[in-house]
C-alpha cells in the first residue's frame, strides 16, 4: 500500500538536514523508487543545491543505496546505467527556504516548484533542549502554520496538475512531525489526542506567547547593556584574558554579552515552559505549534506524527545509523569516561526512546494513508499518530542503566595512560542531590582557581590551574545534562499508540515486512548492546582499545604539524618564551656595567624598592610600563650601549636562554619558514639575536647628540600592536597567517596567538595555560639549561675601562717603578 500510494508523487520535506529528515530522504529515495523530493533548505553561502549535496546526500545513510546503484541500478530502483548521483539529479530538487520566515522565504521560482508538491512532510524543528525561547517559537510554534499557509498559496499559484494529480487550487497534504512530550510533565496515560483536549492542558493564547517571547529578547538585549552588566562582563573578560589589549577585551566582552542574552532567553523559555507544566521550551513550543497549525490550517489536510525520543536505527538503512550527537550520547559517553558518577532518575521509570527507522516508517505510512476522513462530516480532519515504545514495550530506566554498566564493564573505555576506566555503580539519587553535589565540587574548584590565579605561576605549575579549569568545565557540562535531561528521565507519562496500531494493522504483509514501525519488535538488550551503544562509542570517538605501542603524545602530534614544511612563518615573543629575562633585567645589566661597587649597591637597592610599582604597572598595561621604564635610558650613550649589548648577549641573554626555544627558532629556519621576533625589548638589546630571525620588531628610542632621549619613537609592540606587526609583516611578504606559528607565554599575546593557525603556549601563565588547554594548542615547557650560571640579580660584570682602570694602571706603574 505504501509504495503504491506514494508512487509518482512529489513530496516536499523540511528539516532534511536533520537526523529524522535525512532518514526520511533516504527512505523515500530507496523504498519508493518513482517518487520525487523537493527539499526545503536554508541555502548557506553556496546555495540550496550545494547544501543538499554536501549536507544530505553525502551522509553515510546513503551508502546502502549508493552501493546498490553500483551493483545494479535497475534493481536499486533506478534507470539502466544510472549512477546514484544521476538518480539524485533526476529525483531531488532543492528549494531555498526557511521555516522561521513568513511565506517560508520562498522566491518565485521556489514557490513555482513548491506548487508542484503533492505531500509535504514538515520535520524541521529546534530540538535542542536549551535553545532560546524566541528561536524555538519561530521554528516550533510558528513553523507548522507557515508551512500550511505556504501550501495554500502554492495551491492557488498552481497552473497545471501536480505529478500526483492535484488540480490547481487543490491543497497538498501536510504531515507535521511533533513530539509525544507535548503531553507535558504528567503521569499516566497520554492518548493520541489534540493538546487542548487533554485535561491537563492549561489554555494559553499562542499568539500572545509568541509576542511575549520576542519581547523577552528585546528586554534581555536591553538588560545586557546596562552599565552594571557591561562592567561585570568586562571584569570577567579581564579575568580570563589578562592584559590582552583593548580590542581583544572588547571582542570578548561582546561575545560574553551575546552569550549572556542567549542564556537569559534559554532560562526564560525553561521557566515559562515549567510554569505551564512542560519539561522544557521544546515541548512547550511544539505543543503550541500543534495548536496554531490546527487553528490556522484553513483547509489544508493535516496529520500529526508524534515520536518520543528518537534514537539510532534498529535496522534501516543499517542498524545503529545515527546523525549528529543525540540526547543520550553525551550522557552515556560521560558515564563511560567516568566523568558522570550519578544521574538522577527512578529505576522503575520508563525511558521512552524509539529507533529512527520506526519513526520514518510511521511517517511514510501516514503520508501514504492520506488525510484522515471524519466519519461524521466526511471531510478530512487533523489526526494524531504517536510513535513511542513506553506503553507497548517499556524500557525501564533501571534496565537501561544495568545494560550500559554491563556493556562498559565488558568493553571499558581506556584513559590516556591506557588504563581501562571502571564505570561507577548508579545509585539513582534524586535530582536535587546530584545538583547539590555538583555545585559543592564546583565551588571548591572555583576557590582553588581564584587562589592559583592570584599567584604568579608559569609552565608546569600553571597547568595545575588549567587542569582545574578543565574539571570545572566537565562539571558544568555534567550539570547541564542533569538539569536538561533530568526532567525526561523522571517523566512517567505513557504514550498510547491506538491510532498507530490501527495504521499498522491496516498495512498488508509486504508493508509490515518492509516498513517496520512496531515497537514490540525491539529487543532492548540486543538494541542496547549491539546497536545503540556501539554506535554511541563510534560517534563519541571513545577509546575502546589501549593504544598500540608507546602512546603518541598529543603534544608530539601537534608539534609535527607545527614543524611541517607547509608552514610559512614562525613568530616569537622573547621574554619568558625564548629567554628567562625581561626589560628590567637588561636595563639593570647595562646600567650597572659602568658603576663601581658602592654605586652598584645603591642601584640594586633602588631597583628593589621600585619593584612593586613596576610589577603593578606591568600587570595593568604593558605599553605604559615600557614608556615609563624606558625613560631611564635618557642620556645613555648609544655607542657604549651597542658595544655592551654584545657582552650582554653572553652574560644575560644566552645565560638565561631556553636552549630548546632557540633550537625551535632554528628548526623553523631550517624548514624554510620565515622567523620573526616581536618584543618590547630595546633594539640594541636584541640586536645580537638577529642571525636567528628574518626580521625583528622591537622598541626604539629617540636620540640626540649620540645619546638616547628616553622617549619611544614607536608604540612598543604589545597586545594588539604585536598582532598588527605580525599581520603587516605577513602581508608584506605574502605569507598566510593560517599557515603560521606563534610562540608566546602570556595572555597579553592572545591577539597574536589567535591570529595564526598554529598557536603555541610556552611556559604559559595560568590563564594562558587554561586557554591553550581548552583550545587544543601546543604547549611547550622550555627551561634554562641546567648548569647555567645562576645570578639572582642581573648586574653587569664590571668593566675596568674608564677612571677606575686609570687608577689601577697608575698604581701598578708605581709598584713597577718602586
Amino acid at each position: 500500500m505504501i509504495r503504491e500510494n506514494l508512487s509518482g508523487k512529489r513530496i516536499a520535506i523540511t528539516g532534511s538536514t536533520g537526523f529524522l529528515g535525512t532518514a526520511l530522504v533516504e527512505r523515500f529515495l530507496r523504498s519508493v523508487p518513482d517518487c520525487e523530493l523537493v527539499l526545503l533548505v536554508r541555502p548557506g553561502r553556496r546555495g540550496a543545491e550545494h547544501r543538499v549535496k554536501r549536507d544530505i546526500l553525502k551522509n553515510d545513510a546513503f551508502d546502502r543505496l549508493r552501493d546498490a546503484f553500483k551493483e545494479d541500478p535497475v534493481a536499486a530502483g533506478g534507470l539502466d546505467g544510472e549512477t546514484f548521483d544521476e538518480m539524485c539529479d533526476r529525483r531531488v530538487f532543492a528549494v531555498k527556504g526557511d521555516v522561521s520566515q513568513d511565506g517560508l522565504g520562498l522566491d518565485d521560482a521556489g514557490l513555482a516548484l513548491f506548487s508542484t508538491v503533492d505531500i509535504a512532510v514538515h520535520s524541521a524543528a529546534t530540538v535542542s533542549f536549551d535553545s532560546a525561547l524566541d528561536d524555538a517559537v519561530q521554528v516550533n510554534l510558528l513553523g507548522p502554520g507557515r508551512v500550511a499557509a505556504a501550501l495554500r498559496v502554492a495551491a492557488e499559484a498552481r497552473t497545471e496538475p501536480t505529478p500526483g494529480g492535484l488540480a490547481p487550487g487543490e491543497k497538498a497534504y501536510l504531515v507535521a512531525v511533533s513530539t509525544c512530550y507535548v503531553a507535558g510533565s504528567r503521569r499516566g496515560n497520554a492518548p493520541e489526542q489534540m493538546v487542548q483536549d487533554s485535561p491537563f492542558f492549561v489554555e494559553v493564547d499562542w499568539r500572545a506567547e509568541a509576542h511575549n517571547a520576542f519581547q523577552a529578547r528585546k528586554d534581555a538585549e536591553q538588560a545586557s547593556r546596562t552599565p552594571q552588566r557591561l562592567k561585570a562582563l568586562e571584569a570577567d573578560a579581564i579575568k580570563t584574558l589578562g592584559a590582552a589589549g583593548t580590542p581583544a577585551i572588547a571582542e570578548r566582552v561582546e561575545n560574553l554579552r551575546q552569550k549572556w542574552v542567549g542564556e537569559q532567553m534559554t532560562q526564560t523559555g525553561r521557566v515559562r515552559a515549567a510554569s505551564l507544566g512542560f519539561p522544557d521550551a521544546y515541548a512547550f513550543t511544539k505543543a503550541l505549534g500543534e495548536r496554531s497549525l490546527v487553528e490556522t490550517r484553513d483547509g489544508v489536510p493535516v496529520a500529526i506524527v508524534r515520536p518520543s525520543i528518537i534514537e539510532s536505527a534498529l535496522a534501516e538503512p543499517v542498524p545503529g545509523w545515527i546523525r549528529g550527537f543525540r540526547m543520550a550520547e553525551p550522557v552515556i559517553a560521560a558515564y563511560a569516561r567516568g566523568l558522570l558518577k550519578e544521574f538522577p532518575g527512578v529505576p522503575e521509570g520508563v525511558i521512552d526512546v524509539i529507533p529512527v527507522d520506526l519513526v520514518v516508517a510511521s511517517i511514510l505510512a501516514t503520508a501514504a494513508r492520506g488525510p484522515h476522513i471524519s466519519e461524521e462530516s466526511g471531510e478530512h480532519e487533523p489526526d494524531i499518530i504517536q510513535i513511542a515504545s513506553g506503553s507497548a514495550n517499556p524500557f525501564k530506566y533501571g534496565q537501561m542503566v544495568d545494560l550500559v554498566q554491563a556493556y562498559f564493564t565488558k568493553n571499558p573505555v581506556y584513559d590516556e595512560k591506557n588504563q581501562p576506566i571502571s564505570v561507577p555503580d548508579w545509585t539513582f539519587p534524586g535530582r536535587g542531590r546530584v545538583t547539590r553535589q555538583l555545585n559543592r565540587a564546583k565551588f571548591a574548584l572555583a576557590t582553588s582557581e581564584r587562589i592559583l590565579d592570584a599567584l604568579p605561576l608559569r609552565g608546569k605549575q600553571a597547568e595545575i590551574g588549567a587542569d582545574l579549569e578543565q574539571q570545572k568545565e566537565q562539571l558544568d557540562r555534567a550539570g547541564g545534562y542533569v538539569e536538561l535531561y533530568g526532567a525526561y528521565t523522571e517523566c512517567e507519562a505513557t504514550y498510547q499508540l491506538d491510532r498507530m496500531y490501527a495504521l499498522w494493522n491496516s498495512l498488508d504483509e509486504a508493508d509490515q515486512r518492509d516498513f517496520n514501525m512496531d515497537p514490540l519488535s525491539i529487543d532492548w538488550p540486543h538494541y542496547a548492546h549491539d546497536i545503540q551503544l556501539p554506535s554511541t562509542v563510534k560517534m563519541a570517538r571513545l577509546k575502546m582499545q589501549p593504544s598500540k605501542g608507546p602512546s603518541v603524545d598529543r603534544n608530539e602530534r601537534i608539534r609535527k604539524n607545527v614543524l611541517s614544511e607547509d608552514r610559512h612563518l614562525a613568530v616569537f615573543d622573547l621574554e619568558n618564551t625564548l629567554i628567562a629575562s625581561n626589560v628590567v633585567a637588561s636595563y639593570s645589566w647595562l646600567a650597572t656595567r659602568h658603576l663601581d661597587t658602592p654605586d652598584r649597591v645603591r642601584f640594586v637597592a633602588k631597583t628593589l624598592r621600585e619593584a612593586p610599582t613596576l610589577w603593578n604597572l606591568d600587570r595593568a598595561d604593558r605599553s605604559d610600563f615600557l614608556r615609563y621604564f624606558y625613560r631611564r635610558f635618557e642620556d645613555a650613550p648609544i655607542e657604549r650601549l651597542e658595544r655592551d649589548s654584545l657582552e650582554m648577549m653572553s652574560d644575560l641573554l644566552m645565560t638565561k636562554s631556553f636552549p630548546a626555544g632557540i633550537r625551535r627558532v632554528r628548526a623553523h629556519r631550517a624548514l624554510g619558514h620565515k622567523t620573526l621576533l616581536i618584543t618590547g625589548a630595546l633594539d640594541v638589546v636584541v640586536e645580537p639575536l638577529r642571525p636567528l630571525f628574518d626580521h625583528i620588531v622591537s622598541a626604539e628610542l629617540g636620540a640626540h647628540d649620540g645619546a638616547y632621549d628616553g622617549k619611544l619613537t614607536n608604540v612598543p609592540p604589545t597586545g594588539e600592536a604585536r598582532y598588527q606587526a605580525l599581520a603587516d609583516y605577513a602581508e608584506e611578504h605574502g605569507l598566510d597567517l593560517k599557515e603560521s606559528v606563534a610562540y608566546a607565554d602570556s595572555t597579553s599575546d592572545l591577539p597574536m596567538l589567535e591570529a595564526v593557525g598554529f598557536p603555541v603556549a610556552v611556559n604559559a601563565e595560568t590563564k594562558l595555560a587554561a586557554i591553550a588547554r581548552r583550545r587544543g594548542w601546543l604547549i611547550e615547557h622550555w627551561t634554562k639549561s641546567d648548569g647555567a650560571p645562576n645570578r639572582t640579580i642581573p648586574i653587569g660584570p664590571r668593566t675596568l675601562r674608564g677612571p677606575l682602570r686609570k687608577q689601577r694602571v697608575a698604581a701598578m706603574q708605581r709598584r713597577a717603578a718602586g
Binding site: 648577549m649 636562554s657 633550537r663 632554528r666 642571525p691 639549561s785 648548569g787 701598578m812
Partner: protein, 538 residues
C-alpha cells in the same frame, strides 16, 4: 712540621698490586670524590710519579732558551725594526687546572716583548691560538698574560682571540701531499716572524699541532679531526704513532715552505697539580701513606662537598689554581724543540706497566680542556674518559680489546648555555638518534660546522664552534671501537644512557655488570689519575 717534599728526590710512578690490606682507594668523581675497595689479588693500581723538581730560576731558564735556541738563531737576532711580529699563545684549555700567577705564558711573553722593544719592533700582535675553542674573556686573558701585557696591547686592538670564521682574517697557505688544506690566521701568516708560546701539559700538545691547528680553521682542521684519523692514532698521546700528529706534521711542511718563519717556544710543568700542603694535597699522595690528619681532612672535605649545592662545588673547584712548576723551557726549531719537550713530558708522566687488563677503571675529575670556568657536560665526560684518559698509553692500550671501561663521574645532564650551545643540540637531538661516530660525522658534521648561528656565537659570544662536540665524540672513537662495554659509576642514568653507556650506582654493581663481558674474575687496573700519568704498556 712535615718536611718539604721538594727537598726529597721524587719517587717515580708505581704499580701496586692490591691485597687484603690495601685501604679503600680514592677516585675522582667530578667535583667530588669516592673511596672504593677494589678486589684483592687481581687488581693493580697505577700511581703517577711524584712532581719532578721545578727549575729554580724560571726567568733565567726562559732567557737562556731564547738566547740559545735549538737549531735556530737567538731570538734577538731575528727581531728587526719595522718588522711584523706576531706572538701566538695557548688558550684557556692549558694547563689544567689553570696555574697560579704568574702564568708561564706571561713570563715568556714579557721577556719576548722586552727583547722586541729593545730591537725596536713596534708592530706586535698577540693572538690567543684557540682554533675552534671559545674566546677567552678579559679576565682569562689577564690571568694568562698579566695586567701589564693586557693593558698595553688590548686597548689598541693588538691583543685578541683568533677568529677562524673571520672571512677576511684567514688565508690558505697550500695543500699537503695528502691534499689536506692548510689554513692560518692571516695576521700570523703575513708576519715576518711568528712566535708560538706553548704550555705542554701532555705529550699531545705542541710541535706542528700548535700552529697547524691552533691558528687554523674548520677547513684545515677537519683533515685530522675526524673518525678515521682518530682511530688510526694509537695513541694520540704518542706523537710517533699518532695519525693526528702525522697529518699536523704534513701541514707543518706546508707552513715551513709557504708560511711565516716560526720561532717555537715549548714548556713543560711538573705534576704538582694539588700542592704539597692544603686539603687537596692528599690527592697527590698514596692512600696507604695517608696520615691521620689526611684521613680527617678527607672525611671533612667529603662531608662538606656532599652537603654543598652543585653550583657551589663547581665554584670552589673552578677557583683552584694549580701551583705548577716549570720543569723545562726550550725554543727554536719546531721539530727539534718538540722532541726535547716530549722527553721532559715522558719523564714526568710515563709509568711502565706490564701487560693489559680486562677491566680498566678510573675516576674522572671536575675538569677537562673544554670546561675551564664552565660546566663538565656529558659529552665532555665521554671525551675526557674515552678520549684523553683511555689514550694515556704508549705501546698498546692498558685494557685489552673487548675489555670493559669503568669510569666514575656524576655525569649530570648539565650544559653551559653560553660556552656549549651546539653541545646541547648535539646531545639532545643527535645522540638521541645515534651514538655511532661515523654516522654522526657523515650526516651532521657539515651542518653543524657551517651553521650561521653557531658561527655567530663562536665569533661574538663565548661559544665553542658548532663542530666542536663532534670532535669530542671523535676523540673517543678509538676507544668506542676497542672497548666491549663502558660503565659509568654514580652517573645520572638518563644522561649516561644517552651517551650509549651503562649506568651503575656503585663500583660493586659496575664490576658485576662487567662480568657479562669479561667473566667473573677479570683482571682490573685502576689508573690513579690525575696528577697525570701515562702508561707505557709492554
Amino acid at each position: 712540621m712535615a718536611s718539604d717534599p721538594r727537598n726529597r728526590s721524587p719517587r717515580p710512578g708505581f704499580v701496586l698490586n692490591v691485597d687484603k690490606q690495601t685501604p679503600p682507594l680514592l677516585f675522582h668523581h667530578g667535583d667530588n670524590f669516592r673511596l672504593e675497595k677494589l678486589p684483592a689479588d687481581r687488581t693493580r693500581v697505577i700511581y703517577p710519579a711524584e712532581p719532578l723538581p721545578g727549575l729554580p730560576d724560571p726567568e733565567a731558564a726562559i732567557r737562556h732558551a731564547l738566547l740559545e735556541p735549538i737549531d735556530d738563531d737567538p731570538l734577538p737576532e731575528l727581531l728587526k725594526p719595522g718588522m711584523k711580529l706576531t706572538i701566538a699563545f695557548d688558550d684557556i684549555s692549558l694547563p689544567l687546572p689553570s696555574m697560579r700567577k704568574p702564568d708561564i705564558r706571561q713570563r715568556i711573553i714579557e721577556q719576548v716583548l722586552d727583547m722586541a722593544a729593545a730591537a725596536g719592533v713596534d708592530d706586535v700582535h698577540l693572538i690567543a691560538a684557540l682554533a675552534l675553542h671559545r674566546r677567552m674573556t678579559e679576565d682569562e686573558l689577564r690571568h694568562a698574560l698579566g695586567d701589564r701585557v693586557y693593558d698595553a696591547f688590548a686597548p689598541q686592538g693588538a691583543l685578541y682571540n683568533h677568529d677562524a670564521e673571520d672571512p677576511d682574517g684567514m688565508v690558505e697557505l697550500g695543500r699537503t701531499r695528502h691534499d689536506e688544506a692548510v689554513t692560518m690566521n692571516k695576521r700570523a701568516a703575513e708576519s715576518d716572524l711568528l712566535i708560538y708560546v706553548n704550555l705542554n701539559i701532555v705529550s699531545m700538545d705542541g710541535g706542528w699541532k700548535s700552529t697547524a691547528t691552533g691558528l687554523s680553521g674548520y677547513s684545515g682542521i677537519k683533515h685530522h679531526h675526524n673518525v678515521k684519523t682518530m682511530r688510526e692514532s694509537k695513541s694520540f698521546m704518542d706523537r710517533h704513532s699518532s695519525e693526528l700528529h702525522h697529518s699536523n706534521w704534513r701541514q707543518g711542511e706546508v707552513i715551513k715552505n709557504h708560511g711565516p718563519r716560526i720561532f717555537q717556544i715549548e714548556t713543560t710543568i711538573n705534576n704538582n697539580t694539588f700542592g704539597y700542603d692544603g686539603a687537596l694535597s692528599l690527592l697527590q699522595k698514596r692512600e696507604w701513606e695517608w696520615t691521620a690528619k689526611d684521613r680527617i681532612t678527607f672525611m671533612g672535605m667529603k662531608k662538606g662537598l656532599d652537603l654543598m649545592p652543585a653550583s657551589q662545588r663547581r665554584q670552589i673547584f673552578n677557583g683552584w689554581k694549580a701551583p705548577y712548576e716549570l720543569t723545562s723551557v726550550q725554543a727554536g726549531n719546531v721539530e727539534s724543540v718538540h722532541e726535547v719537550t716530549l722527553e721532559h713530558c715522558f719523564k714526568q708522566h710515563l709509568v711502565p706497566v706490564k701487560g693489559q687488563t680486562d677491566v680498566l677503571a678510573f675516576g674522572l675529575p671536575y675538569i677537562c680542556p673544554y670546561n675551564v670556568n664552565s660546566v663538565m657536560n656529558p659529552i665532555l665526560v665521554m671525551c675526557l674518559g674515552l678520549g684523553y684518559f683511555f689514550n694515556m698509553y704508549r705501546g698498546k692500550p692498558l685494557v685489552r680489546e673487548g675489555g670493559v671501561l669503568i669510569m666514575s663521574h656524576p655525569t649530570p645532564w648539565e650544559f653551559h648555555p653560553v660556552h656549549h650551545p651546539s653541545y646541547i643540540d648535539f646531545f639532545e637531538q643527535l645522540l638521541a638518534e645515534t651514538t655511532d661516530p661515523i654516522e654522526l660525522e657523515q650526516k651532521y658534521e657539515k651542518q653543524f660546522a657551517e651553521d650561521e648561528w653557531y658561527i655567530h656565537l663562536y665569533r661574538n659570544s663565548y661559544a665553542y664552534h658548532g663542530v666542536h662536540p663532534f670532535y669530542m665524540w671523535y676523540w673517543g672513537s678509538h676507544a668506542l671501537e676497542w672497548l666491549g662495554k663502558v660503565i659509568v659509576v654514580g652517573g645520572d642514568p638518563r644522561a649516561v644512557r644517552r651517551l650509549g653507556f651503562q649506568p651503575a650506582s656503585t663500583m660493586q654493581d659496575a664490576l658485576e655488570m662487567a662480568s657479562d663481558t669479561v667473566g667473573s674474575s677479570p683482571s682490573i687496573t685502576y689508573m690513579h689519575n690525575p696528577p697525570i700519568l701515562m702508561a707505557d704498556v709492554t
